[in-house]
């Protein structure tokens, strides 16, 4: 059976997908995950999830429009030039910019 592994590096952070393991059952899957994905890299917690239990939605499926698959300039903070903004707005915009940059980088190669 295949299990996907999500690692949380430090307390309070998000769990992020780091890979998978093959194991006959959950008990062994957890052990493998620990050895493979948390032995060297710092980890505070792991989520181990049977692959079959995970629902998937792909961007190229019909009737699904996901972020980054559409050109929708009007809904980005970067679309509006309004001068200096309060710090929390600037931060929101920086987060959006970095997502935009990633998306642009992907379509370049």
């Amino acid at each position: 059976m295949r299990f996907e592994v999500f690692r949380q590096e430090k307390r309070k952070e998000y769990h992020q997908h780091v890979g998978d393991v093959h194991a006959p059952d959950m008990e062994l899957a957890k052990q493998y995950a620990q050895v493979i994905h948390a032995r060297r890299k710092p980890a505070n917690s792991l989520w181990v999830v049977p692959k079959d239990e995970i629902g998937t939605v792909d961007a190229d499926e019909q009737s699904v429009e996901m972020g980054g698959t559409t050109q929708k300039q009007y809904r980005w903070a970067t679309n509006f030039a309004t001068g200096e903004m309060p710090e929390e707005i600037e931060e929101s915009e920086r987060e959006q910019q970095s997502v935009e940059r990633d998306a642009a980088g992907e379509s370049d190669d």
Binding site: K12, V64, Y74, W76, F80, G83, I89, S92
Partner: protein, 315 residues
């Protein structure tokens, strides 16, 4: 955990569904997040007519994207509240529809005109964003996670709101006059957004002690005024003489003359008894009822009836 231990450990993102939280914490957190979620929904409800009334296609697209975002914020927040185990999402939606659910004062007032829209989209959303940014450090982790996503999206709302404000403010003389009228109508309500200044609002003290809230209402209002008064001036808006606001340089603090604001109306609004707000709530109730059959269809037959038809709605 007992309350003393909670107060001791309280810190950013400290508690989550795997912690056994005492009832007073769970109730206070539910009250706060439910209020926030309700406000997202009611805010979307008063902005929605402007999808139709937008003066250009660009504006129409942006307003509709924003309304979608707000509904999404509501959904995220009900989920974060639900995990406290006090109320289910259904209960919270029912409470909103039947007038028991509370929400922000500003969303009890009708929005009659395009010129009023930036009052909500820029100033009210700006005030809300000030508060939300401080909640990235709330102690209920699922709340903080919802806030992460909300803050990511919210920058667009406020900049779009300011862009509408700029467009009107640089228009004809008549535009400017109508904008000033709208500002004068909304300014006192915006000042009331954070509650009365001398009020350690009944729940504020406890919510801060257990880390749910990280800033007092007074500090939030002050930070808001610091950032947004210069913006109002930038667009040629005249700050009304009343309510009186005085800046105390030594404390870097704005003092608002509380008695210049209509707190009796604020009370009525907070109790969901202000007639125009009541109409908004009833309207929400009718919509909730109108789509009952959809919820039922999903519950009855979650595998066939509805799948495949909802995909494009929430991107």
């Amino acid at each position: 955990m007992n309350i003393e231990q909670v107060k001791e450990r309280a810190g950013p993102r400290e508690f989550g569904p795997s912690d056994e939280m005492p009832e007073p914490y769970r109730k206070a957190a539910t009250r706060m997040i439910q209020f926030h979620a309700n406000s997202e929904i009611m805010g979307a409800l008063i902005e929605r007519p402007f999808i139709r009334q937008a003066p250009s296609l660009e504006r129409k697209l942006a307003v509709s994207a924003q309304v979608q975002d707000e509904i999404g914020h509501g959904q995220l927040l009900y989920r974060a509240a639900e995990q406290l185990g006090v109320k289910t999402r259904e209960e919270m939606l029912d409470e909103l529809a039947d007038g028991r659910g509370k929400f922000l004062n500003c969303f009890h007032y009708p929005l009659d005109h395009w010129y009023e829209l930036p009052m909500i989209m820029f100033f009210v959303d700006g005030a809300a964003m000030r508060r939300q940014a401080s909640l990235k450090r709330t102690s209920w982790e699922p709340y903080a996670h919802a806030i992460d996503k909300i803050c990511f999206e919210e920058g667009f709302h406020i900049k779009h709101g300011e862009d509408i404000l700029r467009e009107i403010a640089t228009g004809s003389r008549r535009d400017k006059e109508l904008l000033q009228d709208a500002f004068e109508k909304w300014w006192p309500r915006i000042l009331q957004f954070f509650g009365p200044t001398d009020d350690d609002s009944t729940h504020g003290g406890f919510a801060q002690e257990v880390g749910l809230k990280t800033m007092s209402n007074d500090d939030l209002r002050n930070a808001f005024l610091n950032a947004y008064l210069p913006k109002a001036e930038k667009y040629g808006l005249e700050i009304p003489e009343y309510p009186r606001i005085e800046y105390d340089e030594s404390r870097d603090h704005y003092e608002i003359e509380n008695s210049d604001l209509d707190w009796a109306e604020f009370e009525t609004v907070s109790k969901n008894e202000y007639p125009p707000g009541r109409e908004q709530i009833d309207s929400r109730g009718r919509r909730q009822e109108a789509v009952d059959w959809v919820r039922e269809a999903i519950m009855d037959d979650s595998t066939t009836a509805v799948t495949g038809t909802t995909g494009a709605a929430a991107d």
